[in-house]
Amino acid sequence: MIDGSHISPDVHRLLDGEPGGSPEDRAAADRFQTALDTYGAALRLPGRDVDIAVMTAVRRRRGRARSGMFWRWLVQPQAVQLRPAMAAAAIIAALAVGIVVRQATLGGSPGVGSETPVMLVRFELAAPRAQTVSLAGSFNDWSAGEEDMVKSPATGLWTITVPLPSGEHQYMFVVDGEQWVPDPNAHAQVDDGFGQSNSVIVVGPRGVVRS
């Protein structure tokens, strides 16, 4: 340790920048200054390496803080500004992508393309004694009770008009919920694979003509 109590007043004056003093005093003042510098250097933090280490740690911490911020942003409720038109366009685009993918997955129905016009087709069956008649076919997943036909009391004719895409459709009439009846006015009757027949109608771009 350097004890300044043994330094003469002349040396103090020299150290304070006051002129004068003997050469011995100035030499003593120089030695004291050198000792002070050495002490100060010893007290100073050990330089650049520590600075770099500290800054690296700080940056790393900041990186972790950033990822934490992202996670907090992800899980916390956010106020989002959306333009309705842009959102609608995104939804439509997303639906279109979904439909395309789904079509590719399922495989299309025979004869029905992606841009098929829809036609209104009228079906009719003369069944005066029937209590109910419905239409089941490939166009409604063979749901027997989905397309209920309407009876004309005067003629006993059951009718229904349904929109169908152009292409071939197979169908049957379901009478009183259990009797499957072919359409005598269909384009054709084909084997349904189960030992019975399905009626066939092919809807063209200009409608349907039956015999």
Partner: protein, 241 residues
């Protein structure tokens, strides 16, 4: 674009694709079970559908046939439905091989299904190849195959039905226009023409009766009855009133 917007846009874009890519099996099972089908049987159907998809075959017609079979359960035993599905899948495989044999690397499902249906209605492999060769696109070939199969089901000789479709393609008619042939056939039969006579005219090179010049058959109305009208035409008619 801000991160929030970008994330939402990406989520919207990916959601339907993800949903569509989900396994269809639960969908088939769900539909059948919802209609009262036994779970084990519905699972068997789903396995057949999965096998078809794994082979790259169309699954939509299989699902439709399973639903049809279940709807007709009063007359069709469930085991019979499974047998029909397996048979149909085998026919899809044959049809796909035929289509690939014509040079199509990856025939669309609609073509495979239509060709399988055509084979089931008496078309020969040669008939299938002829229609594919004449059609401008595989999708048009699918429609041509459907029309040929429908004409055959209406009583037209298979060779004549295929010839009618092939001629239409060669005359530059679109696939949509081909779909008018079964209505034309029905109208001709309604006028008293026998399918044999229609076939003879086609095979002799006279084309489908009334269609050679590109016009509709004489006396054949574009529609039958007031409701067999294209929706667009109905709209125009209403607008004119």
């Amino acid at each position: 674009m801000k991160p929030a917007r970008m994330t939402i846009a990406l989520a919207l874009m990916l959601l339907p694709a993800t949903l569509a890519a989900q396994d269809q099996l639960p969908d088939v099972e769900r539909q059948l079970v919802a209609r009262g089908a036994p779970v084990e049987w519905a699972q068997s159907v789903a396995e057949i559908v999965a096998a078809a998809r794994a082979d790259g075959l169309p699954t939509g017609p299989l699902v439709s046939k399973a639903l049809e079979g279940w709807a007709k359960r009063g007359r069709v035993p469930p085991d019979r439905v499974l047998a029909v599905l397996n048979q149909l899948m085998g026919r899809f495989g044959t049809a796909r091989d035929l289509a690939v044999g014509t040079g199509l690397d990856d025939p669309p499902g609609s073509l495979v299904a239509a060709a399988a249906e055509g084979l089931g209605r008496g078309m020969t492999p040669e008939n299938v190849r002829d229609v594919i060769a004449a059609a401008p696109t595989p999708e048009a070939a699918a429609t041509g195959m459907t029309v040929a199969g429908s004409l055959a089901a209406q009583g037209l000789d298979v060779a004549a039905a295929v010839r009618a479709v092939r001629d239409d393609f060669r005359n530059g008619r679109s696939a949509a226009e081909l779909l008018e042939l079964p209505s034309g056939m029905a109208a001709l039969i309604g006028q008293g023409m026998h399918p044999r006579d229609i076939a003879q005219q086609i095979v002799r090179g006279g084309g489908f009766p009334g269609r050679g010049s590109g016009a509709r058959p004489k006396g054949v109305p574009p529609t039958k009855g007031p409701t067999d009208i294209p929706t667009k035409a109905r709209g125009r008619r209403r607008g004119n009133n």
